[in-house]
């Protein structure tokens, strides 16, 4: 018997009939051929979040983003007029990577007035114009105007910087995000600038890690021992049910309850949670975000008790807003069909004192304790999926978002393949 109300169709999945209820194949997560198609069909056509405006605090601030999945690196910069621009990170002379520090495959950031290639000293303004060619008279009919940096489509939403590698994106960023995401407009991300940035290489397909964090069916089991002994029977017996699921275009979201540590008896909590007044769901004492009410897109179904919203923004960006006034992001950057780089960022309103800072530390350390269990399990899943001993897997109603992700991946690859065939 469901504790929380489901749509009139009887299940969340039936509410979106295009998803079906059949067992799913995970061939899309183990096939090198499918991965090669995803690179062009998805990562060279979708808008990709590469960072936030706080990473570009001043004119001349820049950072690079390695996009191995698309065989490129981009440099994102705030130019001298304050406009955020993106370029392929390649010198127009003989193809050297333009911006890097010490290690060509590592990301770099800093502040500069112009980009100077390490190789032969060609220089570029921050708007991409080539401004200097070493020994220019040695070249043949070379006009610097023809040798600006190769621009990448770049736009912002709510302080999140997106790029699109398509020559002519078929949608603007706003169109691509759609109302379910842009309804979050007005949420004060810009106040939450205290950042914990995590990174790991994970031995699984990128979609498997998205799956791991877009269903919470696993949480009472995989993370059972994270709960105090007294709390475990209740946690496991209750299982997990989402309060609200919603799908719009290629994006999806889930609202869940939970995390009200301040209402729980001490024996249901870890002693350190009681001392720091913090835990997995964040500090118990929420900061003042200056909001009279939440933006329409946050807890959009007005569920109580609201714990968090997890927005899965296609293809590889997760935005998770916690009821206690902080947020986190996940990014999954594929490096092969069975490896990817995972990035997790936790953002808090900057601590005003040591007590607040310690509460952030408790939330951050707890996050890592959980994430390491998740990450390791993914490799175990990848290994056995690749055996192809089993090729059909049943997904339940709480796993609806996994079903949607893999359908969207298939749809984008199909559409691309059809376009390419000229059908």
């Amino acid at each position: 018997m469901a504790r929380f109300e489901k749509p009139v169709e009887g299940s969340w999945t039936a509410h979106y009939p295009e998803l079906g209820t059949e067992p799913m194949s995970y061939e899309d997560s183990i096939s090198p051929e499918f991965y090669e198609l995803e690179r062009d069909a998805i990562f060279k056509r979708a808008w990709l979040n590469v960072g936030r405006v706080e990473q570009l605090p001043r004119n001349g601030s820049y950072f690079t983003k390695e996009l191995a999945v698309a065989n490129t690196s981009v440099v994102v910069v705030r130019d001298m007029d304050g406009r955020v621009r993106a370029f392929h990170n390649i010198c127009r002379h003989r193809g050297n990577k333009l911006v890097w520090t010490d290690f060509p495959r590592e990301e770099s950031s800093g502040n500069c007035r112009q980009f100077v290639c390490k190789y032969h000293g060609w220089k570029y303004e921050l708007d991409g114009a080539c401004s200097f060619v070493q020994q220019e008279s040695e070249f043949f009919d070379l006009d610097k105007v023809d040798y600006g940096l190769v621009p990448v489509h770049c736009d912002e939403w709510s302080g999140f910087i997106f790029v699109n590698l398509d020559k002519e994106p078929s949608q603007t960023l706003t169109e691509f995000l759609g109302p379910m995401i842009t309804d979050i407009d007005g949420y004060p991300f810009h106040l939450q600038t205290e950042r914990f940035a995590y990174r790991a290489t994970v031995g699984s397909n990128w979609k498997l890690f998205i799956d791991a964090f877009q269903e919470f069916y696993h949480a009472p089991i995989l993370h059972a021992r994270q709960s105090p002994v007294a709390a475990r029977p209740e946690v496991q017996a209750a299982g997990f049910e989402g309060l609200h699921y919603e799908i719009e275009g290629p994006h999806r979201m889930v609202t869940t309850f939970g995390g009200q540590g301040w209402r729980m008896p001490p024996e249901m909590l870890k002693p350190m949670e009681t001392v720091t007044r913090s835990g997995l769901f964040g500090p118990w004492d929420a900061p003042d975000l200056g909001l009279d009410e939440l933006p329409a897109g946050v807890n959009r179904a007005h569920k109580k008790p609201w714990g968090l919203d997890s927005f899965q923004i296609w293809p590889n960006f997760v935005l998770l807003i916690w009821e206690r006034g902080w947020y986190l992001t996940y990014h999954y950057w594929p490096t092969s069909h069975n490896t990817h780089v995972f990035e997790g960022n936790l953002y808090f309103v900057p601590a005003k004192n040591a007590r607040e800072r310690l509460a952030h530390e408790m939330a951050a350390v707890t996050f890592k304790e959980y994430a390491l269990q998740d990450g390791n399990t993914l490799e175990a899943t990848q290994i056995m999926l690749e055996s192809r001993v089993v090729t059909a897997f049943p997904l339940n109603d709480q796993e609806i978002l996994c079903r949607h992700l893999h359908k969207v991946a298939a749809d984008w690859v199909d559409e691309y393949t059809r376009d390419r065939a000229g059908v």
């Binding site: 995590y198 002693p271 310690l358 890592k368 390491l372 990450g375 390791n376």
Partner: protein, 111 residues
């Protein structure tokens, strides 16, 4: 190095300070993984009862202008958070089922 690392009222914790006053999560996580349960339990047992007192002491100062000894006390609190997982939850340093998985913290607030 000064003779003492911590504020005077926490002198009984001095023995733990050289080991556990560590400025970054990377160092604290590595120290946890390299420590025995006996050592972490001893640190936890000595410090946990005084954690609230230590928080109250540290929060008197602005975060961006803490005296060195208070900042080290705050680092000691971060380490208490770190060892609380082995001590309160796992009974071992390693997170069960996390195998060779790692998650590097590249950017963190200071202090």
């Amino acid at each position: 190095m000064p003779d003492t690392l911590l504020p005077g009222q926490f002198s009984e914790l001095e023995a733990f300070a050289p080991t556990w006053c560590l400025p970054t999560e990377r160092e604290r996580f590595a120290k946890r993984m390299a420590s025995s349960m006996e050592d972490m339990q001893a640190f936890y047992d000595a410090f946990f009862p005084r954690a609230e007192e230590a928080i109250a002491y540290c929060e008197k100062f602005p975060l961006d202008d803490m005296p060195d000894d208070a900042e080290r006390l705050l680092q000691l609190l971060y380490s208490l958070v770190m060892v609380s997982f082995p001590v309160e939850t796992w009974r071992q340093a390693h997170i069960p089922d996390s195998g060779a998985a790692y998650l590097d913290l590249l950017i963190e607030p200071m202090p």
